[in-house]
């Protein structure tokens, strides 16, 4: 069996609002290779950018090119607002 990537890191991904129903769960642990980007993570989870336009890593807003580090906590939200 060919191994095409080495998953050195683990990140926690939390889903919120309607994403929970869409993903069927609140929180998952994802194993991924070093320098995995948010873009790749979303693709890996079957999510489009439109599904999850608001992504925080450790509570700070990042863009889709952001590279993850081991132990990061990713919080994914649909577009929400209010007051």
């Amino acid at each position: 069996m060919a191994i095409d990537r080495v998953d050195d890191m683990q990140v926690k991904v939390k889903f919120f609002a309607s994403l929970r129903k869409q993903m069927g769960q609140d929180t998952i642990l994802v194993s991924c290779p070093e320098d995995f980007t948010i873009s790749q993570l979303l693709e890996n989870q079957g999510l489009s950018r439109e599904d999850a336009p608001v992504i925080l890593v450790n509570g700070l807003r990042v863009d889709y090119a952001h590279k993850l580090s081991d132990g990061d906590v990713v919080s994914a939200f649909p577009l929400i607002g209010g007051g």
Binding site: L60, I80, G81, G83
Partner: protein, 591 residues
């Protein structure tokens, strides 16, 4: 006139005179209505010598040109007065249906002056305006008052009223309408109570004049399409209500807890929108003409009621170190029944709890005391025991015990559910708001957290002044039209201008709304300056300026207010001391 009815009723409760007045058209065109017209009338008629709870203060109920039309959310109305909590010009606005019903009687608004000798209520319908004695109503809570008035007048009457809190002149009391909608902030309930005015019942069905029906039809079609297309207004809010924000702000580390001693809350999940949808929500509800339906009808094991909304959830929850969703919901229901501002109640309680934590003053309630909430809230409304001091608000409570810095307020108004150390623009907004610590004047978490309309760095002070001013102006215009903030989550002021033009027949461009908003803002500033406020009051609690956030994503940050304020005054065309220049006031036609 189209949009406006052109008529305002002046009701004097001292001499029982009722007059119908027709304000100059220019006044409508320049200030629109709602908060705008309210601030102008207050400037003209309630000067610095007037005490807020005296007969000389006035309560100005005002709709806008869009109220009662088919524009989404066009049922709102505003009430403006001099606040007994802040001493500033103070407006609050509310949804439900009362505003639409008032407009459809043929009135744009009401000016209530004087003071009744005995409790009264007012009935307004297409036959006229009558002041009736309200002896039987005095002492009743909000739902009891509403039922009692409707039993006499008819179910078709929408009722705005105060509960026992307003009757007892509680400075953090509010005016409620349609049972569960609130003109929440600033102690307007106490002003109404000081006039011995228990309720105003309205019923009307006259159509609002529309200048260009075809054009309105088209712009409405577009506006409603945008409301449906935006995930915020068509999914997030209808599905979860405003509590959907709990997890976002907690994850971001801007969710204050324990009286702003922390900026996250461990049990946020328990009180989140997601959990509420699962455990409490019975169904969603909307105001008059609203397709969004952000409100919740909810149920605990013991009761049913409305809400809690995001702010209330926070104030009665993490702000007090409480994570018991049912206890928070029931405290919210109680505040609604008694007519109390949930934000001010929660923040005042949190202040009392920290006073106890630090052994400065023990009022008998500590952080986490979910089981004591109902008792203390009743004590506040009925001025019993420690509740009597809390009824004056957090600043007064803290000052009394020599610990003013523990009151999380600006200009006397308790701060809402955002830690500005993690969102610099909100800090500027709180400090410069004309009504005190308020999140609605300029909702900077839009760009700073949600990234709407564009992402800005929440920890930076750059560019915050310009954006804050933009929102303060646009939001003031929205509060004059009157249209709900949440419509603004889907469409821009371009749509508001087109809607206003179609309804009134007067050509308003988006830029005109910015100017009107700026005019209203400067009018309010001028009012406060006349009251004796100055740039020294454009400030934040010490904690937020000098104590770095201890934990979480906002760790290490404080609010850097000075650089933002400097820019703010300059961009507003004010002096370095924050005083509108003669040039600016003349340009806006304020003087």
């Amino acid at each position: 006139m189209n949009g406006w009815t052109g008529k305002i009723a002046r009701v004097n409760l001292s001499n029982k005179q009722i007059q119908i007045e027709e304000p100059a058209a220019e006044l409508y065109y320049q200030y629109l209505g709602g908060r705008g017209l309210g601030s102008r009338i207050l400037w003209d008629e309630v000067n610095e010598k007037v005490l807020p709870l005296s007969p000389e203060n006035k309560l100005i109920f005002m709709t806008g040109p869009l109220t009662g039309t088919r524009v989404p959310t066009a049922g709102r109305f505003a009430v403006t007065s001099k606040s007994p909590l802040t001493g500033t010009v103070f407006d609050s606005n509310s949804g439900g249906i009362w505003g639409a019903r008032l407009k459809k009687t043929g009135l744009d608004g009401l000016i209530i002056e004087g003071q009744a000798a005995q409790p009264v209520y007012i009935v307004i319908d297409e036959t006229g305006i009558v002041v009736k004695e309200a002896g039987r109503l005095w002492g009743l809570d909000v739902p009891e008052t509403t039922s009692a008035v409707q039993a006499v007048e008819g179910k078709g009457y929408s009722v705005a009223c105060i509960g026992p809190a307003g009757e007892n002149l509680v400075r953090i009391s509010c005016i409620m309408n349609d049972n569960t909608r609130a003109l929440g902030r600033g102690g307007l309930g106490a002003v109404m109570g000081s006039k011995k005015l228990k309720a105003i019942a309205v019923k009307g069905s006259k159509s609002v004049g529309i200048a260009d029906k075809e054009k309105l039809q088209f712009v409405l079609y577009e506006t409603n399409k945008w409301l449906k297309a935006s995930p915020v207004t068509s999914q997030g809010l209808p599905e979860f209500g405003t509590p959907v924000l709990v997890n976002l702000f907690n994850e971001s580390g801007i969710f204050p807890s324990y009286n702003f001693q922390e900026s996250q809350y461990d049990d946020a999940e328990n009180i989140s929108g997601e959990t509420m949808a699962e455990k409490l929500t019975v169904r969603k509800k909307g105001c008059y003409g609203c397709p969004i339906k952000c409100s919740r009808e909810t149920r605990t094991a013991r009761e049913t009621g409305a809400g809690p909304e995001y702010e209330s959830l926070w104030a009665l929850g993490p702000q007090c170190g409480i994570g018991d969703l049912e206890a928070i919901a029931e405290a919210n229901y109680l505040c609604n029944r008694l007519g109390l501002d949930t934000i001010s109640v929660g923040v005042t309680l949190g202040c009392a709890m920290e006073l106890a934590q630090r052994n400065i003053y023990d009022s008998g309630i500590n952080f986490g005391d979910a089981g004591k909430l109902l008792q203390i809230i009743n004590d506040i409304a009925y001025l019993r025991g420690a509740g009597a001091d809390m009824a004056e608000g957090s600043r007064s409570l803290a000052q009394k015990h020599g610990a003013e810095s523990l009151a999380m307020q600006v200009k006397g108004l308790e701060l809402p559910a955002y830690d500005p150390r993690g969102v610099q623009g909100m800090g500027l907004g709180f400090a410069t708001s004309n009504r005190g610590g308020c999140h609605l004047r300029a909702y900077m978490v839009g760009p700073e957290i949600l990234g709407v309309p564009k992402m800005v760095d929440r920890f930076s002070t750059h560019g915050k002044a310009g954006l804050t001013i933009f929102y303060q102006n646009v939001n003031a215009a929205m509060d004059a039209l009157i249209i709900c903030r949440f419509v603004g989550l889907a469409v821009s002021e371009e749509y508001f201008a087109r809607l206003l033009t179609a309804v009134t027949g007067i050509n308003y461009q988006p830029q005109d709304l910015h100017v009107i908003g700026e005019r209203i803002w400067n009018m309010e500033r001028l009012y406060n300056l006349r009251e004796g406020f100055s740039n020294r009051d454009d400030i934040l609690p010490d904690r937020l300026l000098t104590e770095p956030v201890k934990n979480g994503p906002s760790k290490g940050h404080v609010v850097h207010l000075e650089p933002m304020l400097e820019d703010y005054y300059r961009f507003r065309g004010w002096s370095k001391d924050g005083i509108p220049t003669e040039k600016k006031l003349a340009e806006l036609g304020v003087i």
